[in-house]
């Protein structure tokens, strides 16, 4: 488990980037927290810099979009999914279980 930040430091619609074995970003949207690989599967770009709308994040470079719940891309130019990770909220802090990467299921 890696501590991401305090709950108070991640308002709805925002994202925070963590350095784990790979960069991982944690998103707060629709009243929930989601953690996915931060690097877009299309090209080197940080999804934490992207645009969050509902349960989707749009890559800031080439507008590929990913479902935060599954890691699946929803449009070109991305073709491959990103991995998702469990998020735990405890004592006012957000944690990511970086050991449990979940490969997206089509």
């Amino acid at each position: 488990m890696i501590r991401a930040c305090d709950v108070d430091d991640l308002p709805d619609g925002e994202a925070v980037r963590l350095l784990a074995h790979v960069p991982i970003s944690v998103f707060h949207t629709e009243g929930q927290y989601f953690a996915i690989d931060d690097t877009c599967s299309h090209q080197d770009a940080s999804l934490a810099d992207g645009w969050v709308e509902g349960c989707f994040v749009e890559c800031p470079l080439h507008a590929a979009s990913f479902d935060l719940r599954t890691g699946q891309p929803t449009c070109l130019p991305a073709k491959r999914p990103v991995r998702t990770y469990p998020v735990v909220v405890s004592d006012g802090a957000i944690y990511v279980d970086t050991a449990v990467a979940q490969e997206a299921i089509a």
Partner: protein, 387 residues
């Protein structure tokens, strides 16, 4: 509508096929493409592919399973040579005749060429172009002259430099990219060339290419000769419409269509670089990746409806990568522009273009997060209600 034929199998054509199926078309789907390759992505051709960082398989826009899922009949390596708008009949270069209820024209554009077949002179538009150019520059150490300092020219110069070539860029206009970005920001982007060891010659045209069978140099209008082993022409494209002569469609610098990419025949739509669609009272043709991707959904919706029920929003979004910098642009440039974050000197900035106080466009270098925020603001302002 029982049969739809899509002419063109690049991004716009493939997206049209995907949209047809996604929007419920379960009839016969036929795709015709003049290149022998499966649909591939063009933006990396001048960047990571030319650099050798990625291979052909990385360019594919869909894997084999994804293509099979479309349940389409493919005619690859064959070009359409004739269309009759009145009955939707098509003739291919091998003589095949196809009858369709609906036609999607997605034939794109071709690079303007120079040099009449002189060896060593290249363009960069197709996968075959990129493979041929890469063969000549991969080991570095060659003198490359790039003609045209637009985005393709600039990206090619950047990649050739990264491979260790001696690179000169020649641009006829006094300031590169000034039509797309305005003079101040065009100059800021063009400044990257000299900062990275590439010579930039502006405000002078090319008189001729020198060499008998293979190019040896580029002669400029003032008589100066730039020695060259390889020349790359990045001097724009022309829409691929010759095959539509006599079709009955209106052709004028592209296939003329309405706000929803529909031609005067409601059973024929045009998407991507070849489409000259109506937008804010004029007809425009955009040569951007995102336009091709977005037009497909709109055009297919209108084709299946038999009428223009949706409009293309034309968000004017494009990007470029040069010398390790990421340039992003959305909307329309205007005479008035200001830096709103960062600075030109740092080569990290966000600028907005303004007309009558309203933001019409956003340009950014190495600032994806604030750019995305501003781009989304523009998109909301420009959203066109589906009629």
């Amino acid at each position: 509508m029982r049969t739809v034929t899509i002419v063109g199998t690049s991004l716009a054509g493939l997206r049209a096929a995907q949209e047809l199926r996604a929007q419920g078309f379960d009839g016969e789907l036929v795709l015709v493409g003049d290149e022998p390759h499966r649909p591939y992505d063009r933006p990396p051709l001048s960047k990571d592919f030319l650099l050798g960082k990625i291979g052909v398989e990385d360019l594919e826009l869909a894997d084999a399973a994804g293509l099979l899922e479309l349940g389409a009949r493919w005619h690859l390596g064959r070009r359409a040579v004739r269309l009759s708008a009145s009955d939707g009949s098509l003739t291919l270069s091998d003589g095949t005749e196809l009858k369709s209820d609906g036609v999607v024209i997605a034939t794109g554009a071709s690079a303007r060429t120079l040099g009449d077949g002189l060896a060593g002179v290249h363009t960069l538009r197709t996968l075959d172009d990129a493979v041929a150019l890469r063969r000549e520059i991969a080991d570095g150490g060659v003198r490359v002259v790039v003609i045209g300092a637009g985005f393709i020219g600039a990206e090619t110069a950047s990649t050739c430099r990264a491979l260790g070539c001696d690179v000169t860029v020649v641009e006829a206009a006094p300031v590169p990219l000034s039509r797309a970005l305005g003079p101040e920001f065009g100059a800021a982007c063009a400044g990257l060339h000299e900062e990275n060891g590439v010579r930039l010659v502006t405000g002078i045209g090319v008189a001729a290419l020198e060499g008998d069978t293979r190019v040896t140099g580029v002669r400029l209008a003032d008589g100066t000769v730039l020695g060259a082993d390889v020349v790359v022409a990045g001097i724009g494209v022309r829409p691929n419409t010759e095959w539509l002569d006599g079709s009955g469609l209106v052709i004028d610098n592209g296939v003329v269509c309405d706000e929803g990419c529909v031609t005067a025949s409601p059973n024929i739509v045009a998407v991507g670089d070849v489409a000259r669609f109506r937008h804010e009272g004029a007809h425009v043709r955009t040569e951007h990746w995102t336009s091709a991707a977005e037009q497909a959904g709109v055009a297919v919706r209108n084709l299946l409806a038999g009428a223009t029920v949706a409009h293309h929003a034309n968000r004017g979004y494009f990007w470029s990568e040069q010398y390790g910098h990421r340039i992003q642009f959305a909307g329309q440039a205007a005479a008035e522009a200001e830096v709103v974050e960062g600075s030109l000197a740092e080569r990290k900035f966000v600028a907005t273009y303004l007309r009558d106080g309203a933001v019409t466009g956003v340009l950014a270098m190495d600032s994806p997060k604030p750019f995305t925020r501003l781009r989304r603001g523009l998109a909301r302002a420009a959203t066109v209600p589906a009629g």
